[in-house]
């Protein structure tokens, strides 16, 4: 099995359980979205993939990259994976680059760590990487403070791409950027994928993820509660949380005066519910939801939802009514 596979990942930090059960996969060349609100565990999932969990965190489950088991891997295994096979870009490019070194030097350091090649060959890799993100060669001599936020995020992407990784994890890559710059970075990410490199795009914004991802996972309170092909999920979500999240997002051109809201608060990471993690905020919840964890159902091909009372696709709902 190639690509990234996460199965039943749980992370506990002290008494808190910020990741309760996360399962997802990204095939080579595939663009997959991971969507959730703050505290849902999406960034922790990314950190677990790179072995960057806080020291006091205890993780259980499985993370596979190709044939390599990542959870509990030794430092020497990690050195061959981080940056080389699995690269990550973070939310704030201004704080991710060293202000004292030029962009070119920082890129050179990365490729130098992974390729035992003569300097000229390494420099060629740097030039190519900058080219792929549409920064001309002159940017190699610039320092971070001389560049705009969008240009810095391009430099970060170039750094991530320089070692030709199997998978790129982008954690909120455009949240710190203006909306017009965001549009260009998303366009760039879309162009860069599809040549074998997989992309896991983490965001709180479903509409943004929908621009590039073919499949999406929705996280809530540390669980991947729903997954499916992007288009289907946007059109008719099965999990009440996803459905609500889609409606609560203000969208241009709707001129709606009131937004549907999700009442209540997210389940604290310290509580351990016997039933569904969303039941306290769910309008479809019954006694069953309070007592038993929901089953994982597959209502459509490639989709999966953890819910006792999922919203059925209309066709299926009609059939059930008549049968």
């Amino acid at each position: 099995m190639s690509g990234l596979t996460i199965a039943g990942l749980q992370v506990a930090i002290g008494l808190a359980q910020p990741l309760r059960d996360c399962s997802l996969s990204v095939a080579p060349g595939e663009v997959v979205g991971l969507v959730g609100e703050s505290g849902s565990g999406k960034s922790l999932t990314a950190l677990a993939c790179l072995g960057l969990l806080p020291a006091q965190a205890r993780a259980r489950g499985q993370i596979q990259l190709g044939d390599t088991a990542l959870l509990g891997a030794t430092e020497s295994v990690w050195r061959g994976v981080r940056g080389r096979r699995l690269a990550m870009i973070f939310q704030n490019p201004m704080s991710a680059l060293n202000p004292f070194f030029s962009i070119g030097r920082q890129l050179l350091e990365v490729v130098g760590a992974h390729f035992a090649e003569p300097r000229a060959a390494l420099q060629l890799r740097v030039r190519k990487a900058l080219e792929r993100v549409q920064l001309d060669a002159g940017f190699a001599d610039k320092y971070p403070h001389q560049m705009s936020g969008g240009q810095l995020q391009r430099a970060m992407i170039a750094m991530a791409l320089a070692c030709e990784p199997e998978l790129l994890i982008a954690d909120e890559p455009t949240t710190a950027l203006d909306v017009t710059v965001q549009a260009r970075i998303m366009r760039l990410l879309r162009e860069l994928t599809g040549q074998g490199m997989g992309l896991l795009l983490i965001s709180h914004d479903l509409a943004l993820v929908a621009q590039v991802a073919a499949r999406v996972y929705v996280m809530y309170a540390g669980r991947t509660v729903e997954t499916g092909p992007m288009r289907e999920l946007m059109g008719s979500a099965s999990h009440p949380y996803t459905a609500n999240l889609l409606k609560a997002q203000p969208r241009l051109g709707q001129f709606q005066r009131r937004l549907p809201v999700i009442e209540g608060q997210v389940l604290p990471a310290t509580s351990s519910p016997g039933g569904c993690v969303f039941q306290s905020r769910c309008w479809r919840a019954t006694e069953l939801c309070r007592l038993q964890p929901p089953p994982a159902l597959s209502l459509r091909p490639l989709s999966r939802v953890e819910c006792h009372h999922p919203i059925l696709p209309t066709l299926l709902a009609k059939e059930l009514e008549h049968g």
Partner: protein, 315 residues
Amino acid sequence: MVEAVVSVQGLRKSYAGKHGRVQALQGLDFTLRPGKSLAIVGESGSGKTTAAMCVAKLVMPDAGAVHLAGSDFLQADARSSARLRRHFGVVLQNPLTSLDPRVRIWRSVCEPLQVHEPGLTKAQLRERALALLARVGLDANQAERLPHQLSGGQLQRAVIARALILRPQFVILDEPTSALDVSVQAQVLNLLCDLRDEFQLSYLFITHNLALVEIIAHEVLVMYAGAVVERGPVHRVFAQPRHPYTAELLAAVPGGPLSVSEPATAAAESGFAATGCAYRPRCPRAQALCADVQPAPASEAAPVSCFFPLGESPR
């Protein structure tokens, strides 16, 4: 004619920069009538927050006038401007840094009352604070807590309550929901709409998120590099943007109806032009004239600051 809640004329502000002065605000004019709201949209560095700060006199503008309750707020001395401050409330982006971390929520909420209505007893202050907190959805138990014990959405409700405790008619909202999650943002936006209708509030709503503008405001100003480039009723500007920058902004919103027509060039991503039209380096319609002459800022009479606006064929 109903009297204006606030009226702003010719507000200007510049800061000293590395390469001469930066024109952060190049003339802002607007008038708000009771119950009507205005949104200012733009990207980082466009001057939208400077605009809010100058209207609230938290930053002293270089020129211009702000009329509140019939008086000139900017010319007023320290004492009378303190008195005039009761006529507006302010809600900023990050609720956690807006509240004193060592003071209980209800105490923070009634602090403006202590300043402006010094005769009230502690019991009266508490009663007023709790009543308003209940209106924004916080119970007596939550009112007793400290800021770190509440969530971001709950804190922003408390900040809104504090802004309204003196019953102002005018409230400045600077990115009030951008630090909040989508589901919580919807709760706060609905609350703001309810309060606006209930108390006939006028909002000056500063945001980078265009999708929120339609929910909150009646009128919109689009800012670029310190200047208002387009203004008008929200439905007109969003349905038929005339300035190329407004069109680019609208096209960049994810999931919007125009999202297919993204801007084509990545080259001129940033940088304002120093002469002529500031938007020229990014503009697909720019011509020689745009490099030499700066178009007049948008006004109520001429709502678009562009020589070659959309909807007219280029000459």
